[in-house]
Structure formats: structure tokens, C-alpha cells
């Protein structure tokens, strides 16, 4: 009964949506806003990766909101999971020799790769969120391979808060020096150089640290619970 009602609703929804898709032809350039970003992006922001300049500079407020959403999820998860408060003694089986050695070998390489991705976010595909996720996967590897190690909670909370505060403070400095919140007040430099594009690398470094420590904190909370 429930299945047939659900399928009926979905058929109606599917038909309705396919009606509206005829007005969005596939593969055809549609927007003037996108064109403007591609044509003027390098000149106005100094970053050669246009997606990064859209994410951090033209629509930087959305990125601030997104960073906040991840912060809320990490705190909400911590509040829900640690409310039980019991300390259980668990027997931790050590991982096998191959797994342990492999993880210890790969962990610094993964960290370096993640850091490379978020530092070069304005020049190559990548950026703060991608680099942060790579760093968190390195930490997950440590949880799987060397199971008795844990991240220090104080350090991870500190990295989260400082990352978020850095983003907000840079925005406020843009307000003070440039007249608008998040305006790009540092010199733009030459395109394709590492130290170019004003505030974009600084914001992405802060975001990279924040996302990495947040996702690692989420993994830590979930593993401790099970």
C-alpha cells in the first residue's frame, strides 16, 4: 500500500520535473554572470582558478556559511554523542603488521598532499575543503592502523575555532581597509605565482586547517562511541 502510493507520487513528480527541464537545454551557455567571472576573474581577483575565485571572493559569504554548517555539525555531533558519558573499557586489538606499517608510512605523505592541495587552491583544482578532507582521511588511516592513538581534543578544538575566527577577522579587515566585508585588500601579485591573489590563499589555508581538524574530530567522536 505504502509502496504504491510512493511510486505514484514519484511518477507524478518525475513527469512534472521533466516538463520543466525542456527550458534548460543541456550544453548551451546560459549565463552572463558566469561569462563575466571567466572574462574578468584573473584581472579582478588575481587567482587563475576561476572556481576558487568564485568560491572565496565573489561568493565568499556562502563559503563562510558553509564553514559554519560544518562547525555546527561537529558541535552537534559532539553534544549528542558525549551526553551518554560512560567510559567503557574496550579491548583494542592491534592491527596487523602490514596495516600498521603501511599506515605509519602513508600518513605523512597524505598530510603533505593535503597541504599541497589547499595551499595551491588558487592555481590548480582543489582548495580548502578538498585539502581538509584529504587530511582527515589521513587521520582516519591512523585510527584504522595504529589503534591506540588519539587526537588531542584540545588541539583540534583550538584549530577549529582559530580557523573560523581567521576567516571572520579577514572579512572584517576587508571591511576596515576596503570598505566592504570580504573585499580583497591585499596586493594581487602576478598571476600563477604562489603568493598572489590577495586574501584567497590565506582564507583557504584557514579553511583547510579547520575542515581537516573538524572532520578528524567527527571521526574521533564516532569511533570512540562504537
Amino acid at each position: 500500500m505504502r509502496r504504491t502510493v510512493a511510486i505514484l507520487l514519484l511518477i507524478i513528480a518525475g513527469l512534472g520535473i521533466s516538463l520543466s527541464l525542456t527550458s534548460i537545454p543541456f550544453g548551451v551557455p546560459k549565463t552572463k554572470v558566469g561569462r563575466h567571472y571567466i572574462n574578468e576573474g584573473v584581472k579582478e581577483t588575481g587567482a587563475t582558478n576561476i572556481v576558487t575565485s568564485v568560491v572565496v571572493n565573489y561568493r565568499g559569504f556562502d563559503t563562510l556559511g558553509e564553514v559554519t554548517v560544518l562547525f555546527i555539525a561537529a558541535i552537534g555531533l559532539g553534544a549528542v554523542l558525549t551526553a551518554s558519558g560512560k567510559e567503557k573499557e574496550r579491548k583494542i586489538e592491534p592491527a596487523s603488521l602490514i596495516l600498521g606499517t603501511g599506515c605509519r608510512f602513508l600518513f605523512p605523505l597524505i598530510l603533505v598532499f593535503g597541504t599541497y592541495v589547499f595551499i595551491h587552491g588558487h592555481l590548480t583544482p582543489g582548495g580548502g575543503f578538498q585539502g581538509g578532507a584529504i587530511i582527515a582521511s589521513g587521520f582516519l588511516l591512523i585510527y584504522l592502523g595504529c589503534r591506540e592513538r588519539r587526537i588531542s581534543r584540545v588541539a583540534s578544538n583550538l584549530a577549529e575555532s582559530l580557523g573560523g575566527l581567521t576567516f571572520v577577522v579577514i572579512g572584517l579587515l576587508g571591511l576596515v581597509f576596503g570598505g566592504h566585508f570580504l573585499s580583497n585588500f591585499l596586493p594581487r601579485g602576478t598571476a600563477n605565482a604562489l603568493f598572489s591573489a590577495g586574501i584567497i590563499p590565506i582564507i583557504y589555508i584557514a579553511v583547510g586547517f579547520k575542515v581537516g581538524s573538524e572532520l578528524a574530530g567527527i571521526i574521533d567522536n564516532l569511533i570512540e562511541e562504537s
Binding site: 556562502d62 559554519t68 558541535i75 576587508g174 570580504l182
Partner: protein
């Protein structure tokens, strides 16, 4: 002149800093939300006279409007952010004493972020930014409903989360369809281009927007999460959810319908939906024994009434709807705050357990009674001029359709009177079971209750204090061309 972006950034920055403060000084976390919200309230009140004339457009990043995100601080935005700051401030003072167990600093961080998200939704001028701040609001409320960690709280939070996330996905599909058609994400830009599109291709995005935002605004078939969530959350969070979160959802629906789509054909459908919501809410509230569930169903009913008033579409109607929104926020927050300590004293949420509470906690029960009278619409309180304005607006349209619906509104009011008077009868006129020891709620709870009562009585006796602002807000919703002109120049 203060930049309206500070209304969002200062609470956001302080919320990020709460874990840092908690490292050095343990009890600091509970004083930061009142400080941030006090700042917001002062800034909103300073900006309010300026924006009644001409909205302040803040473009973020320094680029020109269609190529950047902009905030539109007009009469609607600053009015809503003043209400959010005021109610948030008073409830955060209440929570200084009410929240004692669990991870207290996480509660305060989530609370401040919920209110930041709400302020962001009402001030923004860009649909994807609206989605992001809307998600901030929703996700904080999912986490706060589950805050106490009890069975009912976690179950309600899971159901709320699933329904809210499906709604947000619909909203995102609608945003994708609008972007594919018009190539821009700015509300004023889309509003300008919409006149050149065919109505058929706009129908599906509009339905998706109303469904997606309607889950949070608790419109009729989408409000199954509300009674569970509002009754299992801690009482200060129930006050914020019923008083701010669903109103901000309704603001988003109104902004989309009036400013983006400019639709006049859908308004009669929304009026019928509003009346359905009102009747479902009131009838279900009548049969409840749990006081918080009763108040939650009453919120559903009131949202139906506000939606009906906004769907009348004339400037009286929209002003009446906004006035009813203001009086519902104040009254419902007062009711939940008073009920919080009444439940704490009585030990249970059943109405029958509160017999004789009127003698044990006289001030709190008097406040509950005043809130109930105001919600129903009795004279010296703020519910009376707002309901009167709605009835007058409906009768002034001279259409039989609206007059019939107003009859149903009055029927809903009669049902409201019935169930609230039943509670008041139990509080004051039922017998006492034991020697009544008078022990009031603590002072941190009585200060906000006193302020709410004072506001309700003041606005009720002098509605002219707010009617100017409400009329400007109504004309901002109804005059799309002025909105487009002030943003795009």
C-alpha cells in the same frame, strides 16, 4: 552609520570564539549569547528609522550587484532582525539558569548560531545565500532538539532531520532550475527577468520552493515533525523554534512568492492552505493532554492564520499578517518560558498534573494566562489589534471567498479559547492536593517573562508604535519594482 553586515558577523564571530573562551574561563559560555544579541538589538533599533525610507544595500566583497552577494536591509529585514534579537536576548537570559546539565557551552554555541542563521535568512538578497543560511538555521535546530538526549528528543530529532533534509533538497533543485533558466542567483535580477518567462516553466520551481521552505514553515501537509520536535526540546528551545524558526521559514516563503515570482494566481491556493493549517492545528490542539504538545499544535494553527493573512495580498492583509507574526512570537515565547518552569515544578508535562499551580507559582501562572489571552486575541493585549486588522483586511476585499474563510478563522479562534481556558481552569480553579508552598521560578527566568508581559501589554494598548514599520514592511513585499530598482539601480 553602522554596516548591517555586522548583524550577522558579530554573533558568528563570537560563536566561533566560544570554545576558545571556554578554555580559559569555564563559565563564560553562557554570557556570550546575551552580549551578542544585545549588540544585534541595539544595531537593529539604530538602523530601523533609516531603512523605513530607503533600504540599505550592502554588497559583500565590493563587486556590483548581480555579480556578488548582496544584503538587502530594508524595513522587512531590519524588523525581523530586531524581533529575532529581542526574543533571542530574552530567552538567552532565561537559559542562564534553565540549562544546567549536558554540555552547556555547546548549547550556547548552537543557540547563537541558530539565531545567526535566522538573521542571515531575513537579510540576504541572493537565493543560494538564503539556502545556506536556512541550512544553518535548520541544522542547529536539529542538534538542539536532541540536546537533552532523552528517548523522545532523539526520536523527534531524527524525524525532523529526515523531513527537513528532504525539504532542503527540494529547495536546491528549485534553485538549480531557476539558475538554469535565468543565469543568475540574485533575487532582484531573477525578479526582473521573470516577467519574460512563460508561466508553465515557472510552475515547477515555484512548487519546489514552497515545498522546500514549507517544511520549515510548517504549512499543512508538511508539518508532521512539529508537534514532536517542539514538545521534546528543552523549553527555551521550544520558545525559539515556535517563535522564530517557523516564522523565518514563513518569511522565506513570502519573499519567494511576492518578490521573486510576483505570483498573484497562487495566492488563493495559499489562503486555502492557510485555513486548512489553522483548522488542523486548532482541532488537534484541543484534544491534547500534554501541555507542550498543545502549544506546538497551537503554533501550527497560528502559522496557518499568518499565511492566510499574507495570502490576502492587499497591504492591509500583509501588514495584518506581519502584526500577527509579531504578536504570536511574543505570546508563544512567553507561554513556553512560563510552561518550562511550571513543568519543572509539577514534574510532568500533563495538564492534569498542574492542578492548583496558580497558587504555587502565582507570577509564572499569571504570565501564562496573559500569554494565552494575547494569543486568543483579547483586548488589552497585542493579539487583539493584530487579529482585528486581519479580519478587517479580509472583509475589505469584498470577495465572498475571503469572507467565508474569515468565518473559519473565527471558528478556529473559538476552539483556541476553549482549550486555553481549560488549562487556565486547571491552573486556578481546581483543588489543591497538598499544602501549597509558594516557590517561584528563579530571577533569571522572571526578568524575561516580565519583559515579554510588558511588551505584550504595551503593543496591545498602543499599536501605533509598530504600525508604521509594519506598513513599510508590507509595501516592501508588495512593490517588487521598488525592490528591484533599489538593488540594481
Amino acid at each position: 552609520m553602522v554596516n548591517p553586515v555586522l548583524l550577522i558577523i558579530v554573533p558568528l564571530g563570537l560563536a566561533f570564539a566560544i570554545p576558545l573562551f571556554a578554555l580559559f574561563w569555564k563559565g563564560a559560555a553562557k554570557y556570550i549569547p546575551p552580549a551578542a544579541l544585545g549588540f544585534n538589538l541595539i544595531v537593529s533599533l539604530i538602523l530601523l528609522p533609516r531603512v523605513l525610507a530607503e533600504p540599505i544595500i550592502v554588497s559583500l566583497g565590493g563587486w556590483q550587484p548581480p555579480f556578488c552577494i548582496n544584503l538587502v536591509a530594508g524595513p522587512v529585514g531590519i524588523l525581523f532582525s530586531a524581533i529575532i534579537a529581542l526574543v533571542g536576548l530574552l530567552v538567552s537570559i532565561y537559559a542562564l539558569d534553565y540549562i544546567r546539565e549536558g554540555a552547556v557551552e555547546r548549547y550556547h554555541t548552537l543557540y547563537l548560531l541558530l539565531l545567526t542563521g535566522a538573521t542571515g535568512v531575513v537579510l540576504t538578497g541572493d537565493i543560494f545565500n538564503l539556502f545556506v543560511f536556512f541550512e544553518i538555521l535548520c541544522i542547529s535546530s536539529y542538534a538542539l532538539v536532541a540536546y537533552l538526549g532523552e528517548r523522545s528528543g532523539i526520536e523527534s530529532a531524527v524525524k525532523y532531520l529526515i523531513q527537513g533534509s528532504v525539504g532542503s533538497s527540494f529547495l536546491l533543485i528549485g534553485i538549480g532550475l531557476l539558475y538554469g533558466q535565468f543565469g543568475t542567483l540574485n533575487i532582484a535580477d531573477i525578479a526582473e527577468k521573470i516577467t519574460s518567462a512563460s508561466p508553465i516553466s515557472l510552475f515547477v520551481p515555484m512548487v519546489l520552493f514552497i515545498t522546500g521552505l514549507g517544511v520549515e514553515a510548517a504549512i499543512f501537509p508538511l508539518n508532521a515533525w512539529l508537534p514532536d520536535a517542539h514538545s521534546s526540546a528543552p523549553s527555551s528551545i521550544s520558545a525559539i523554534l515556535s517563535g522564530i524558526a517557523i516564522e523565518v521559514g514563513l518569511y522565506a516563503v513570502t519573499r519567494v512568492i511576492f518578490t521573486i515570482f510576483g505570483a498573484s494566481g497562487i495566492l488563493s491556493f495559499l489562503a486555502v492552505l492557510g485555513i486548512l493549517t489553522l483548522l488542523v492545528g486548532e482541532i488537534c490542539a484541543f484534544s491534547q493532554n500534554n501541555i507542550k504538545r498543545m502549544l506546538a499544535y497551537s503554533s501550527i494553527g497560528q502559522i496557518g492564520l499568518i499565511l492566510f493573512a499574507l495570502a490576502i495580498g492587499t497591504s492591509y492583509g500583509v501588514a495584518g499578517g506581519l502584526f500577527q507574526l509579531l504578536s504570536h512570537t511574543l505570546s508563544k515565547a512567553l507561554l513556553f518560558l512560563a510552561a518550562g518552569y511550571m513543568i519543572y515544578r509539577a514534574g510532568s508535562m500533563e495538564i492534569s498534573a498542574m492542578e492548583g499551580m496558580g497558587k504555587k507559582m502565582p507570577i509564572t501562572c499569571l504570565a501564562f494566562t496573559i500569554g494565552a489571552f494575547s494569543l486568543v486575541g483579547l483586548p488589552p493585549f497585542t493579539g487583539f489589534p493584530s487579529k482585528f486588522l486581519i479580519v478587517r483586511a479580509a472583509l475589505a476585499t469584498q470577495e465572498a471567498f475571503f469572507c467565508v474563510l474569515i468565518g473559519l478563522v473565527l471558528l478556529g479562534t473559538v476552539i483556541e479559547v476553549a482549550y486555553f481556558f481549560r488549562v487556565i481552569q486547571v491552573l486556578y480553579f481546581k483543588g489543591e492536593k497538598m499544602n501549597s508552598v509558594k516557590k517561584e521560578a528563579p530571577i533569571a527566568a522572571l526578568i524575561p517573562i516580565f519583559f515579554f508581559v510588558a511588551l505584550i501589554i504595551t503593543v496591545g494598548i498602543y499599536p501605533r508604535l509598530v504600525t508604521d514599520v509594519l506598513n513599510s514592511a508590507a509595501s516592501e513585499f508588495l512593490n517588487r519594482l521598488d525592490y528591484i530598482r533599489s538593488v540594481l539601480g
